[in-house]
Amino acid sequence: MSPGEDGKMRTPNVSIMYDTLAMCFNEAIEILGAGIKDAIYYHLARKHIQKLEIGAKFQEVENTLAFLFGQGAKSVMVLTLERLCEQYSLPLRLEYANSPTERLQQVKERILIDKLLPKHHRKRLDSDRYEDKLGNYAPWSD
């Protein structure tokens, strides 16, 4: 069965990944505190980065974090990466790269090449299939 046969197009992996990255970033900055999270989003908005664009414009997000935390921005990057790896069941393995940014790039490539889907997305698809009584194939497979 091809993905488009039932009339529904599956969301492209890249946009799922960007959504997941934005979600992981949100979770990571939540640890810093609600006020600080608001301050970060305020500065992102000043750089014309909306919440939904965080995944797609992650390089600019990093620059904004560096402006806010200096070298401490790495911590937020690592926390985001940690959550992203958890979502895709990938090892964090920061030692595989020279910087968290480089590791994030590696993880992103791996996600796209291996067509991986995040846990939160699989859970949603699973429950949709269950409710539609169409759970006869793994929803994340091609």
Binding site: E30, I31, L32, G33, G35, I36, A39, H43, F67, S75
Partner: protein
């Protein structure tokens, strides 16, 4: 980067002379846990500790007692001083006796001279009080004073901010200054906590230069 827990809270509070650290907290217990741990550690290793506050001395002494600090004894030994800034210790306004942000540097410099050979620690809950009164400019002044004190003397400083009070654009605009002026930061919230060992740009120039490079337009966000 480390996640802050009970075990490494001590490590965060284990500062070297010249350190200028910050803690952003959400709950008042976290403020006292961190600041008083900083005070306790200082007293333990023989540093002279100054606690900057706007509350009156007996109240702080009582609070310290709850956290296992024998404040009265340390004050008698001359190892702990509680300075009520902006108002005199009696609570009534007395400009002649008051320690203000303007004369705080002189006050701390005098203290630093008095404690020759020993390190001085400053735990400051003043920023939170200034946050409450929405005095952004006063905070900028205070932080600059703290930074110059940390740069010149054998002083380590811990400032405490309430992250819940960062809720207006004026505070958001000031936020990069509040973080990057400090060398190390702890962020404590209900979701968890994080320690950033290096805030600010890479140390290629002195901290005082870092301040002077900020233009006049950045002074009043």
């Amino acid at each position: 980067m480390t996640l802050l827990g009970e075990t490494n809270l001590g490590t965060f509070c284990d500062t070297d002379p010249g350190d200028h650290s910050v803690v952003f907290f959400e709950k008042s217990e976290d403020r006292y846990t961190t600041l008083f741990e900083f005070v306790r550690k200082g007293l333990e290793i023989g540093d002279v500790v100054v606690y900057l506050t706007r509350m009156n001395e007996p109240r702080i002494v009582g609070l310290m007692g709850r956290y296992g600090i024998e404040a009265r004894k340390s004050m008698r030994d001359g190892r702990l001083r509680i300075l009520s800034v902006l108002f005199s210790s009696g609570g009534t306004h007395n400009p002649k006796r008051a320690i203000t942000i303007g004369n705080l540097k002189r006050e701390v410099s005098m203290l630093a001279r008095e404690v020759k050979g020993r390190n001085l620690r400053i735990a400051s809950s003043l920023p939170e009080h200034l946050q409450t009164e929405n005095k952004t400019r006063e905070i900028l002044r205070l932080e600059r004073v703290m930074l110059s004190v940390a740069g010149e003397k054998r002083v380590s400083i811990l400032c405490a901010y309430n992250s819940r009070r960062l809720k207006r654009p004026s505070w958001f605009r000031m936020f990069p200054f509040l973080t990057t002026i400090h060398g190390k930061g702890a962020f404590i919230s209900s979701q968890g906590s994080v320690v950033m060992d290096e805030l600010g740009p890479p140390r290629t120039r002195s901290r005082n230069e870092h301040v002077s490079r900020r233009g006049r337009e950045n002074e009043n966000p």
